[in-house]
Subunit: 100 residues, 2 copies
């Protein structure tokens, strides 16, 4: 079964990107022990000042879905939500490559 | 210096996604030894039938730029180009997270 890749474009409210990034990096610590989470990388756009991107790799879509029921994750999402103007999720199936 | 993350949305001409994926996976083998290339993952969209996504992590933007002068890479790009209808690059600076 192919791994589940989740990309997400997060547009922060103007001036809120750094605070949103701080909160999300803090949340990535709780994912260290999260079963099925192989990678969770937060990046900032080089071209758009309010935009962050999340790139995640999970063992399966099911493992990712289960994480969204985790109390820690839910708490972090609710803290981040006021800072977020828009979210664009990109759901993918990994085909292969280097470092998968 | 933060790592360079490059995402790319590739829209294939109708019916050409599988062939494009085959060529690009073949090309990922030449990146195994490519200096500064930490990750190069090809994924297919779960929602858009003609779309592939590339998610790359490089030691630096310079390492990525240098790869675009590599003969192998240039040869693969020219073989893939006829199959591609559109490319949307997303240039990012990694901030942190799990598995970086």
């Amino acid at each position: 079964m192919s791994k589940f890749v989740m990309l997400g474009k997060l547009t922060a409210h103007p001036g809120q990107r750094d605070e949103l990034a701080r909160l999300m990096l803090e949340s990535s610590e709780s994912l260290e022990a999260m079963e099925g989470c192989l990678q969770y990388i937060l990046s900032e756009s080089a071209d758009e000042p309010d935009v962050l991107w999340i790139s995640e790799i999970w063992e399966s879509a099911e493992a990712h879905a289960a994480s969204l029921k985790d109390e820690n994750v839910l708490a972090i999402i609710s803290r981040c939500r006021p800072l977020i103007a828009a979210v664009t999720p990109v759901k993918l199936r990994a085909l292969g490559g280097k470092g998968l």
